[in-house]
Every structure is written in structure tokens, then in C-alpha cells.
Amino acid sequence: MFTNTNYESKLSPTMTENWLVQIFKNSTSGIQTTDTPDLALSFASTTFDGVVYYPAILNKPSISYSLDLKNFTTNTGSLTLNIGNIDIDGTTLLGTLGKNYLNAHVNILSQIDNDDTAANALQIFSGKVSSFGYKNNTIIMNIISNRPFQNVSIPQGRTSSTNEAHNNKIVPLVYGDYTASTGKAFNAEVFKCPFHKNDGTDFMFLVPEGTSGSDDLEFYDDSIKRFLPLTDTNTSIADVDGAKVLKVPKSMKRIADVFPDEVPASEVVFGTATTKTAGEFANIIDDNTGTSVTVSNSTGFSNDIGGFFVKLIMPELRGKITNLKISLEATFTQTYSNFAASNGLRVTVQDTASFVSAPNSSAHCFGSPARSQLESGTISITDVDITDYVTDHNATDDAGYFPDDCYLYFDFNALGGSASYADFSATIKEVSFKITAENDLDKEPVASTSFNAGIEEVYLGRDILTESYRTHSTADTASDLNNPVAIHRQLLDAIIDVDDFVDDTDIEDSGFKTVAELRDSNTSSPASSTHWKTRFSSHNQEPLEKVLNKLQYEGCFFFQFNPQAQQTALTGVSPLRYFTIDNGVPTANIALSQNDISGYELGITEVGDLETNLVINYKPHPAEDRYLKQATYTADTGSGQNLSHGTIFEQASHQKEEVNLDYVFDSVDDAGSDRNDDFVNFRSSLFGDYKTTINVTLVNPEKYGMIQVGDFIDFSSILFQDLGSPFDAISDTFDSFVAMPTNLFGDTWSNKRFIITNLKRNIGSVSIGCREV
């Protein structure tokens, strides 16, 4: 609703309305409705705030506002004014207009009963002069709505260098909370940092403004599909060529904390009378020490080497391996006799599965140098250095790279004399490796350079959460740049310098607080809201308007530059307008009966509008052209109009719609049951079923005077007899004062809310298009 209680109180069934057009030259700084305009025009002669308005407007323009529910965008249409070529203090309007009126600011106000008081008129439009012309002694002036983001692109940060090779590179624009990669778990909570240049010893990568934290850069090893910390990163952000950079030595040392890719059970090599007795070999790389595999020998052997080789398919990292560490969780038992010092259990990593006492290469991780002769024990080793395995293995494989085969060798040795085993058993719970790799600058300098040039970017898991606009004193977390609304507001502030909030009241008046809190669970009000976690990153030039619209789409909220933006002196008015659709049945802004309207049309949403089978791809991979997650929605089979997708579209494979979310990555599905709990709930509540539509022409000023797109309407169908005593005694003749003339197809109007999606305001009437929500 527009906000102006003074104006609202003047609305009456019989009134004089005048539209006042204030035009401020593009060089004029004060453009509030209380400032004196450079041109003051109106339909009828009047004064407003002590300024005389020329009754020079010849046509009856209309102002159109619209709201696209599908895409969550708003639009205010342009309008054309035909203005008499009046004489203004000795100069005709034609002679007055010049280039200083191009893009001049325009306010349009509705004035009731020639009320001169500034606070008593309502601003109904805020825009700019797009063009003007002259025809038949009439000035034709085209006015468009305020669209400061038009033609603006992001990112706007660029490097600045006298060396053109390093000049004008795009500095990425990134917001959100990110997490650095640690441990063995797959992590893709990082953003991209493009390569800038090298300084002889270090590579430099561009990082976004506002980057906080001290985490390392990360390298994406596309052969193992993992982001790996570049452990020698200089974690202090430096200023180079007018941009922020992080440096990392050219060797780009990175550490992968990984499990083997696979443990093929069919390639396990068992010694004499040895077999798997429990579990599965895959259990040893499932990141769960609660599962295991047991290999046993119960018959024993003497003067021989027993045990088993577990084949490990090792991840093939890019670059040269410079360090290798193993971690192993296992238990064992062994029953033996006549052991010498050289007998007992030893665990090594081998490149061949050969039961010999001294393999060509070995990497001892347990039982070295002295073999274990405990009758039972636990093997719990962490990060034992077995670099020898990749630097000192057989001559057929390159040092610094894994051999073709890799085995975890449990070697139960009873070789020599009368040494013998009666039995043994080994239970392996988990085995993993820490692999350090570097660019191979010595052996493959060209390949290494190409390798670096080829990747073009590394990654970073630091937060960029701090907003530049004013935050609410008690709801500041909702302003952190990790929900779609806060990021939207940040872009308006940082890119096009939209007026900042003035104070808490302004933030509340704009609707920002309410909508941002609905999309951010880190709030106390509303307590039940879910966090629509959002990350934003932009690396290539793209239109700001497109980005803002997509944030609105993914965040399911609307934004509008308030048509009342220059009337902020009034209590409750903000230049910005954020709004969405509340849970359940939204509160109606106005209730209409047949006495308020001169005509109406009913309809239903067309089949093409239905979204009954959605596949939602979300959380884009930072390095690959794919999404990490997917959610699906299929309309339930229900009663009445609530039909399943297959019924409506004949079969499930028809009209199946795929949606990609690039920013919102949480609360996409299954976060709750309310409309605002997640993306799927919101869209399915609007488009998962048929909805009714209604076009109405309102003629009662008391009802149409203050409405805007996005407001909710209740069409009354209550009859006096429904109200009970004493109202049921009132004659049916008076039912028309509270009811619509017809039902809504097969339903009544009761308990339905309609959102205004189109609104056309003329002097004397307002036409609206509404849709059931």
C-alpha cells in the first residue's frame, strides 16, 4: 500500500483529483516532492506547497505497474505527457526544454481537492524524462520509470597496470560464506580466483574485495575431483595493480588428504591358507572406522612368509608427488613359536605382490625396523612418512609418481629355522593417505608452465559477508551477505550507489528487514524462518539487472524502486520496496464488494503456467560446468483441482521443467511445510495447481487510492445471513453491500487472497489484474 494517512483520509466518493507533475532538471540535486521543481505542471490550475502549477497537461495519461509472479520481477510502465506549449515567464516551454531536461527527474503526485499542503498529496510515480518532442504546438514528453541499473554491468573491479598484459583484468565479485577444504571429505564450498601474473617466484591470483580470513588458496585437481589446499600460500592479501591478490609459490605445493579410489576385492593377493573371514575390503576406505574387513589364517605355516596384499587404486594427482604419508587403523592377532628377531608382523606399502623378504621397494608403516611380535595389538598410525614409496621404488616407474600398482602388504613372517605361525588375523578399519604434490618445475618446466596457464584459476574458501549498507541495529545478521535479499541490497549499494538506509525505521519501512529475516534463519523473528543460504560470484561481465532479477527469482521475493521514493519525509515511506508473499493466507490490504467495482472478469491460470514436475539443479560446482545437487518436485495426486502432473500432461515425461539455481544453495527443498520454508514450497504454492485470476476496475477512491502491485485483496462473499445474529435479521436486499455478485467458478470467494499483479492508474479509476495465491 502507498503510505500517506493524510491523503488517505481525503479520499471520498466525491472529490476533486488533480495530478501534479514535478520535473527537475538533471542538474538539480533536490528532487523531493517538497523541493521546488523546475517545471510544475498539472491537469487543472492549482498551487501545491506554495508553488503554482501550470494546467498544461492536455492528455489523460495512465500509470501502469506490473509484477511478474513467474520471474519475481516488477515493472513500472512509461507514460507520455502531451503538454501545451505554454509561456513560462516569457519563454515558451519549447524554448525552455533543452538537454538539461533529458533524464530529468519526474515526480507525479495525486492532489485531492486542491490541497496545497505538501504532506497531503500522494506521490504515485517516480521516473525520468526519456525524450521529448514537439508536434502541432504540443510538447510530447516520454517519461520512464526509475531504472538506475539499466545498462550497468558487473563485475566492475579491474586491474590497473601500465603493462597491458596485466591491465583491465576483471576482479571477481563474490559474496557469501565459504569453507576451506580440510580433511578427507569432499568440499566444494569455495569460489574461483583468476590468475593475474607471476613475479618470478610466486603466482598471483585475484581475490574479491572484502575477502576475510586466513585460509590457503586451493587447487582443483580435476583428476581426483578434489580441491586441495595450496599449503605454501602467503595468506596475507596484497595490493597489486590496483587489485587484491594472494600469492603462492610457483611450485604450488598442495596436499591431498584422500582415501584410495578403490580396493578391488578380486585383486587381493592372499598367502597360503589365508582368506577373508569377515567384512568387505571396500570398508577400509568408507571413512567409517566402525566397518572393517578381516583376513585370517587359521591353519598356520612354518619357515615361510604369509599374509596378504590389498590392492589399492591410488588417486592420480596432477604434478609431482613430493611427500606421501599413510594413516592406518587396524587390529591384529598372531599365534607363533620359535621366532627370531626377523620374524613377526610388518605392514608396508609395496608396488608388487610378491611374498619375498626384501621387496625392491618398500615403505614401512608398521613393524619397522623391528617386526611386531605382540600376540595381539592395535595399529593406529597417523601420517607416517612413506615418501620412499614414490621416490625410491623400482626403476621402471618415475620417481615422484605412483607406480602402476600399489599394495598394502600385511606381512606375517616366519621365515628361517623352525619359526612358525599357528594362526593370524588382521582386521583393517581404515587406510588413507596424505599426498603432497607440486608442479614439476625441474623435469617438466614446460608442462608445468602450461599446466598453470591451463588452469587459469585457483580457489578460496574465505567468507565475504560484510555489507556496505547500513544494517538494522537488532537484526544485523539478516544483512550478512549470505541470503539472497542481503546480497541484492548489497549490489544496489555497491554497484549503483542507491541511497543508503537512513535508520532502523527506514529499513523496516522498506520491507527489507521482514523479507531478509524470512530468508535468513539467523534471526529471532520470525522464529520459524529457514535460511535460504546463498552465494554469489560473478567472474564475467553480465548485466546487473539480470543478476538482480535472478536473485529475486531464486530468493522468491520482489523488489521495486518505490513510486513514492521522493516522499520520504512522510512517516513510513522508504525509497526502496522489498516484499514477498506471506505463509498461509496473507492478510488482505483491502476487501472489495460489488459496490467498489464497475466490472470484473474471471479466469484461471493457463496450463503453461503450471509447474507440476520440477527438477531443480542447484549449488553450482566452482570448477566444473555442473551442479552439485538436485531436487525434484512432482505435484501430488489430490482431490478437486489438485491433479498430478501425469494426469495434466498425459505422462510424467511431458512438460517436465528443469530449473537451475546459481545462487541459492540451501532451503531449496524439504526444509519445512510453509510457503517460505524453501524454494520448492514457494513455487509449488503458486504454480503447482490451477489458480483463479480476476481483472477488476475499481471506482471507489477509498478502495483504490492507496493500492500498489503486490498488495492483497479479499473479495467478499459473506452474506448478512452468514454473520449470525443480529445481522441475519437484515434484509437480503443489503447483501450487495458486502458481497460479490457471483461465485468464483465452483468456489466461493471466502478465505482466498489475490495478489495484484497489474495495476493501471488513471485519474478517477484504477484497473487491476489479480491472481489467487
Binding site: M15, F43, D87, D89, I597
Partner: protein, 260 residues
Amino acid sequence: MSSFFVYDSINQYRSDNTISEGTFGAGFSASDSLTNHKRVSDQNIGTAITGVNANDAIAYTLGTGGTANAIAVYFSGSDGVTANGDEMTVRAGNLVNSLTAAGKSFASTDSGWIVSNVHDSANYTDVGSYTIWCVEFNEAITNVAEILIGRKLDFEIEPDINVQSKIEYENSIQRSLGGVEYALNVNPGQEVITISFQNISSTFKQDLTTMQDAIKGEGKKFLYYDGSSYHWVRLNETMTFTEVADGRFSTQIKMRQQIQ
């Protein structure tokens, strides 16, 4: 008093004329003496000049000399004068230092129109032809919104008694489905006055035609006095003369009130 028109006979509303502000002493001397001085010559009675003090003056310099016998001044509010006397003086000439013609001083009025002759020795005697017409304010005065220098055309006879008058409000009446009506008014209403002459002389016909030429038909606004009230009007349509007898004509004049 009988009815009359006052219309622009000197072509003062031509855009290539020069209207200057200044002071009057030995002659007219241009200076920045008034605020928005052109508002008195813009055919708009809604805006007034301000900052008028004694001896401030406005001069109209015409491209071609013009002849006038009357001056009409509109006050959009109180003139700020406690006792009306000779608050303004109109002069004419061809040189700013030699504006010796006319020389008529006349009184202002407290809101509304005041009409005076410009010749200082006789009523509504033509003065002209001169290229410079100057109006001096003899004391501080307020709310001067329009100064029309032209010719007063007295009616040869009063119009027929079937004078028609109506007011058009351009109201919009919207009726709801429930039968409730909502009225929207967008302007205060324009009076449309129609006067008829059944039998006028060819001389008066010629005078009317001269006036119609001077005001370019519906082009310029003029002043109509109906015997009791002034009306700032524009022709709603041009006049049609019908010869009803040899040298006698009938016509109808339809005028629309101008709000500004």
C-alpha cells in the same frame, strides 16, 4: 454600463516582441527591477509578478507600431494598496526616453480586472501608432498577473436577451455494479457563454471582424464585460455573420471562460 470587449490590438502577444523590466524616470530605463516581469504578458492570469515598487516599469517593444485605446490589468489577489488612486501610468512612444504619448494614470483594484483608457485627455481615444508601450507602477503593488493593452470595443447594442451560459465541469461519474456512484472532478468548471445579435450594423460587424483578426480567431484570450462582470475568455469558435437585411447582420459569439 454597457457590454464591451478588450482585446490585443497592438499585437503584444507576438513572441518576437520584447518585454522589458526597469524603472521610469525621465524615460524608461531597463534594469532588474521586478521578479518574473514577463508574467504580465503571457495570457495567463494564474501567475503574478512580484517585487513591484514605486517607479518600477514594464515596457513592451513591438516589432511594428500599434494603436490602442484601453488597458486592462488583472490582479490575482489583493493589490496591497490601501486607498486606490493613480497607482499605474501607461505611456507610449517610439523612443524609451521620449514616451510622451498617452500618459494616462489609473487606479489598481483589489483583486480582479480593472480597465482604463490610455489617452490622458479623453475616454478611449486611440493612441498610436507607437512601437513602445510602457506601464509604470507609481507605488508598491502586488498580484499583478496580466496587463493587456489593446482596444475596447463597445457593443453597438446589447446582445439579445437569450444569452446562454453553462458551465462544463468535465466530471467523471463512475457507477459500480452495486449501483453506487462515484464522482470525480478534475477542473473547477469552465463557463461557456453564447451571446447573439439579431441585427447589427455593417460597422459593428466590421469592428467584430477586426477584433477577430487581431485575436486570430480562437488564438488569443480577451476580456469580455457583460455589464456587470468581467470574463477572461477565448472564442470557442469563429463568428459567422448572416446578412438579415441590406447592410444588417446577425451573428452569434460563443466564448469559453479561461481559468488562467
